[in-house]
Amino acid sequence: MRPDSLPRAIWHRGRWILLFNALFCAWLVARPGGHDAVAAVDDVAQFVGPLLALPLCVGDLPRRRARDGSAAPVALRWSPILLGLGILSFAVGQMIWTFYEQVLRMAAPTPSWADVAFLSAYPFCMLAILLLPARPMPRVERLRVALDGLMVMIGVATFSWYFVLGPSLAQSSNTLPAKIVAGAYPLGDLMLIACVLLLAGRLGTRALRPAARIMCISLVVTAITDTLFDYQTLHNTYATGNLLDVGWPLGYMGLGLAAYAIRLAAASDTAGEADAAVEARDGAGEDAGAAVAVHAEGAPVVVPPLWRALLPYVAIPAVGTLLIYAWFNRGDESVGPNVYVGAVALVVVVLLRQVLSIYMNRLLYVQLATHAESLRSLHQREHEARAAAETALRVRDHFLRSASHDLRTPLAMIMGRLERVELRLERGRAVEPAWLAEQTATMSRAAERMLSTVEEITDAAQLQIGQTLALRLAVVDLGEVVRAIAGMVADANTWPGAPSVSLETAEGVLVEGDRARLERVVQNIVGNAVKYSPHGTPVEVRLQVQEDERAVILTVRDHGVGIPPEDLPRLFTPFYRASTSIGIAGTGIGLAGCKAIVEQHDGQIAIASAPGEGTTVTVTLPKAALAPEGQDDADRDLELAG
C-alpha cells in the first residue's frame, strides 16, 4: 500500500529498505546461533545496510522534460551527495566499531577513530538539510517558525540535559577529548532535531515535500536511537545485539532514500518552478504585506492543520512534568538546576511567541479590513458596470428599433409609389407625365430622407469609434438654412394641435461649414422642439449675431415636456434618450451627432431645461467673414492692439 503523496519510484526503493530492516529486526528477535553470532551479524548489518543505500545518493537521473538544458540548482545537486557522505561516515565508523568488537574482541575505547567517523556524519547531514531551498515565507512567518522551533528545542534540550547530556558529561573520564566525545553525541542529536524542526517548519517546495518527509522521519529515528543508546550506555544496559540497533540502518538508509527523492525532484520541472517562486519572493521584497499579496495572487492559501500549530506547545507540559520530577528527585546538584534554566527559557520564548501572535493577529486584521474594503468597492464597481451595460443594451435595442422605423417609413413611400406605377402599367392605364412626375418627386423626397438617416447613422457610428467627421466646408447662409428647415418642420407637422414655429432670423448670417451637416443640426434641434411639444405649445426659433460680430447664436426654445435634471448630463451620449421621451419616435443619435458636428465647426451647443417647462437649446458657431479676408485681418489686429 503506497501513500498517495509518495512517488512510485521512491516507494519502490523504500520497500526494499523496509524489507532489509524487517529481516534484521526478525533476526535480532529470533536470536539464532547464540549471542556471539547475533552480535556479529548485528555489527555487519549495521554498515552493510547504509552502504547498500549509498547508490541512491549519486548518479544522474534522466530529466523528465528537457528545459532549455538548464541544470538543477546547485543546492539540489549537492544535498544528496552530502547525505551520501554522511551515510558513508556512519558506515565507516560502524566498520571500525565492528573491527574492535569482532576482530580485536574488545569494546571500542572512548575516544576512538570510530567516534570520529560517527560524529562526522552529523555535519554532513546538517549541511545537506540546510542546503535545501525553503518555502517562500514572509518575515513574520519565518519568525513564528523560528520561535516554535525554539520552544521545541528548549524542551528537547532540557530533557536531553537532564537524562543524557548532563550525566554523560558528569560521568565521563576527566580528559578533554573524552568529555568532548561524550557531549558531542547528544549535542549532535540536538542539532539534528533542530534541523528536522527547520525542515518541518519550512517544509520545502512542493516537489521536495516527499524528500523532506522521509528525511524528517529518518532523522527522528536516528536521533531517538542515538539518545536511547546514550541513555543505555550511561546506565550500562547496552550490549550489541540489542533491538535498538535496527534504528541506525533504518535511519541512515532512510536518509539515502531521501537523497534519492531530492534527486528525483531536481530532475523534474517542478523543482525549477519552485526556485522561480523563491526568486519571485525575493524580488517582491521581504515586507510581510507584499509576501502575503504574492501569496494571495498565486497559489491558493494553504492553512496547516491545527495540531501542527499546537505541536510546539507540547514542550510546556513536558518541561513542566520534568520540573516536578526533578523537584522530587533532587540529588544530583550538577544536573537539576539546569532544568529550571530550561523552564525559564521556555517561559520567555512562549511569551515572545505570544507577543508575535498578537502582532500577527493585528496584521491579519488590518489585511482583512483592507480586503473587505477592496471587495466592497469591487462589488460596487461591478454593480455600476452592470447597470451601465444593461442601460447600454436597452438603449441600443431602442436605437435599432428607431433606426428601423426611420428607414422603413420612407422606404414604404418609395415602394408604394413604384407599385402604383407598376399597377398602372399592368392594367394598361395611361401614365401621364404629370402623374409620373408626382410619383418620382415623392420617391426622391423619401430617398433623400433615407439618405439623411443613413448618413446620420454613419456619422453616429464614426463618432462611436472616436473618428472625426470629414466636413465639406463652404460659406453657408445659416439664416437661409434655418428658414428652410423651420418651414419644412412646420409643413410636416400640420396636424391639429401641432405647435406653431415662430421664426426670427437676422439677415446674412454666414458661417463656414458643412451645409448638409449644419442642416441636420438645425433639423434635429427644431424637430426635437416640435416633437417634444405634444400640447401644441409654441416653438421659438431665433438666429442672431453676437454683439462683437464674432459668433452667431441659434436659440430654439420650446415649452414642452422638458428634460429631468438627471438626464441632462447624458443627453449628448449616443443613443441615450431622456426618460420623458417615452412614446416619442427617435433614434437618440441626433443630439450626440449635433454636438460632434457643432464642435467640429469650433462651436458650442448647450441645453437648459426643466421638466414640464420646456427646453432651450443654444448653438454658437463662429461667424464667417463678410468682408474680404485682408480687411478682416486688419480689424483683428486693431482689436488685439486695443
Binding site: 422606404l411 408604394g416 415623392t442 423626397r445 400640420t494 396636424w495 391639429p496 394641435g497
Partner: protein, 146 residues
C-alpha cells in the same frame, strides 16, 4: 357583387406622403377615402362621419397614438364594429400583440405592398358585407353538416 365604391376607408397616418399615396391608391381601386394625421384627428372624424374600415398607424405625434385610438374605438359601442388594420414601421412583437389583443383585425408592417393593402381591405370588407355574412354562414353550416 362587391363594390368598393360603397365603402369609405379612413387612413390615419402622420407621414403626409405616405397618407396621400395610400389614399390615391385606394381611390384608384375604387374606394372612397378620408384622411387623418393624428389620433385626435381620427377620433373627431369617426364621431362625425361614417367609416367602414380604418388603416391606423401606431406611432404618431401627440398624446393619442394608434394603440390609444384602437382602444377608444373598441370601447365605444357605436364604433366598436369598425374593422381596423394597424400599420406600423415597428416590427415590434409587443406592439403587434397588444394591437391584436385590443381587437385589431390585422396588421401591416412598413414597407407594405399596396396590393396587400387592397387585398386585406377587400377581404375584411367582403366578410363584413351582408352577402359575405350569408356566404360565411352557409360555409359554417356545410362544415357543421359534414
Amino acid at each position: 357583387m362587391f363594390d368598393p365604391a360603397e365603402y369609405t376607408i379612413l387612413i390615419v397616418e402622420d407621414e403626409r406622403d405616405l397618407q396621400v399615396m395610400v389614399a390615391q391608391h385606394l381611390v384608384d381601386e375604387g374606394y372612397r377615402t378620408a384622411q387623418a394625421s393624428t389620433g385626435l384627428d381620427a377620433l373627431t372624424h369617426l364621431r362625425t362621419r361614417p367609416v367602414d374600415l380604418m388603416l391606423l398607424d401606431i406611432m404618431m405625434p401627440g398624446f393619442i397614438n394608434g394603440l390609444a385610438v384602437l382602444k377608444i374605438v373598441r370601447d365605444t359601442p357605436e364604433l366598436a364594429q369598425i374593422p381596423i388594420i394597424m400599420t406600423t414601421a415597428l416590427a415590434d412583437v409587443q406592439h403587434v400583440k397588444t394591437a391584436l389583443e385590443l381587437g385589431a383585425s390585422y396588421y401591416l408592417t412598413k414597407p407594405y405592398k399596396l396590393r396587400e393593402v387592397t387585398a386585406r381591405v377587400e377581404g375584411i370588407l367582403r366578410e363584413r358585407s351582408p352577402r359575405g355574412r350569408v356566404a360565411l354562414a352557409s360555409r359554417q353550416i356545410r362544415i357543421a353538416q359534414r
